[in-house]
């Protein structure tokens, strides 16, 4: 049976680019169809019925019609626009980064409902004022888990020995944390203190509710950031573009929540 010509779906808007005079191509993330790129006709005109509903990061309900090349968005209604998140520069940057990672790591039409839920919950937590840093790292680690790139954090990928609470070494190429012995045979491994490893494990193995109040020491936080960032850019063969904006805000002293 051919798929229906018209379908309805929830979606989070990941990004958009202009097309022609007044149209846009909108990249959506949906629970059951994964990433979908669709055309929104006339949306840049002030009087378009769609305008405002399909802003980037919006959670919306859409009716789409199958097209020859790209599907066409026929109706759209915002479920939640995250407007208070969007009034905060740092949170906006963090939320854009989350959307950017989902876009960068997924192909079109590959369903992954847990990833949709993760993104939606992450945006909600940014908006609720949960620790942006913890929320961001939780998101990164659980995104990797949803996509099958879970890093090995419990036993050494080299010799399979359980990791001891000493300084071990993260290797993106090995896909996890190597023990002090095995790291000697790998050129680019990054030291991970036992505190940072515990934090990574806790973030990766827990529900958000269990770790939301975790307080990371600044040096542990820097290590966690370094490990995850190194691993993500290894997998993406380069950094996500939106990372640069977060770096820039930090440099300008604008990474606070004000």
């Amino acid at each position: 049976m051919p798929p229906p010509r018209i379908y309805k779906t929830a979606a989070i808007v990941l990004r958009q680019i202009n097309l022609g005079e007044a149209d846009k191509i909108i990249t959506l993330y949906t629970p059951n169809l994964g990433k979908v790129r669709a055309v929104a006709k006339g949306i840049r005109r002030a009087r378009s019925r769609l305008s405002g509903h399909l802003e980037t990061l919006n959670h919306c309900m859409l009716v789409l019609a199958r097209g020859r090349n790209l599907d066409v968005i026929d109706q759209g209604q915002t479920v939640h626009g995250f407007s208070s998140l969007k009034e905060n520069l740092w949170l906006t940057g963090c939320a854009i980064y989350a959307a950017d990672l989902v876009d960068s790591f997924t192909g079109e039409n590959i369903e992954n409902p847990p990833l949709f839920d993760l993104l939606l919950n992450t945006l909600s937590r940014f908006e609720e004022g949960q620790s942006p840093e913890l929320n961001r790292h939780y998101f990164e680690l659980h995104l990797l888990r949803c996509l099958g790139y879970r890093p090995q954090l419990r036993s050494c990928p080299g010799c399979r020995a359980l990791l001891k609470p000493v300084t071990n070494y993260f290797s993106a190429g090995a896909g996890g944390v190597l023990c002090p012995n095995c790291h000697l045979s790998v050129s680019s491994a990054r030291p991970v203190s036992s505190g940072a490893l515990r934090a990574l494990l806790l973030l990766e193995r827990s529900e958000y509710g269990a770790v939301g109040n975790l307080k990371l020491l600044p040096e542990v936080s820097r290590e966690v950031e370094g490990v995850i960032r190194g691993y993500l850019s290894y997998l993406l063969e380069g950094e996500a573009r939106s990372v640069r904006f977060l770096d820039r805000l930090r440099r300008d002293g604008l990474s606070g929540s004000a």
Partner: protein, 203 residues
């Protein structure tokens, strides 16, 4: 290039290829335009070609407001009748035309030539923000009107500018949200835009 015109003479296909580089022009439109110009009187084709060359040779950016202009400083920046204590920040030169059509704004402008767009890798350094900060540091400006599009990029840019100019102690206002969210400023009608100007709010 897949235009379907296999036996097209080389100069025509070259024109079609150039036209296809323009925004919103696909192979079919390019072919239609090329054949229109082929049949048009020579004077008309020449006028178009000269107009295109002129914008490259005669247009510069105003060293003050970064708008495109034939003379530097531009007529707006040079006009003593305008309120030099007020600067309105816009993304594109076309936005100035839209705001001027309302006839309600008498201050100066500053064109950023884009908006902060983290997903496209466009940050403050790719925009005329350093120039704006230099201009404000000179003094004399009392109000900064942020007239960026009411969408994620426009908001991010406005928030960034607001945070950056806070130490200067200026009045910072933002166009009111009478504007349809997600729309381009360029497409807003005069009434909506005029109202949005009148109702601009402190940031």
């Amino acid at each position: 290039m897949g235009t379907g015109f296999v036996s097209t003479a080389a100069p025509v296909s070259r024109l079609m290829e150039e036209l296809q580089q323009l925004p919103g022009v696909g192979p079919k439109t390019a072919a239609r335009l090329a054949y229109f110009l082929l049949r048009a009187p020579e004077a008309q084709a020449r006028a178009l070609a000269e107009a295109i060359v002129d914008i490259k040779e005669k247009i510069v950016l105003c060293s003050q407001c970064q708008n495109i202009t034939e003379s530097d400083p531009c007529p707006v920046c040079q006009n003593p009748a305008r309120d030099h204590s007020r600067v309105c920040v816009v993304a594109e030169p076309l936005d100035i035309l839209a705001l001027e059509r309302t006839g309600r704004y008498k201050g100066l402008y500053h064109v950023l030539h884009g908006l902060i767009s983290p997903l496209e890798g466009i940050g403050p350094d790719q925009l005329k923000i350093k120039d704006l900060m230099a201009r404000l540091n000179v003094g004399g400006v009392q109000e900064l009107v942020l007239a960026t599009n009411p969408n994620l990029e426009g908001d991010a840019t406005a928030m960034y500018l607001h945070r950056m100019v806070t130490p200067l102690g200026l009045r910072v206002t933002r166009l009111a949200r009478g504007l349809p969210v997600g729309g381009d400023l360029e497409y807003a009608d005069e009434v909506t835009l005029g109202r949005a100007l009148d109702g601009r709010q402190e940031m």
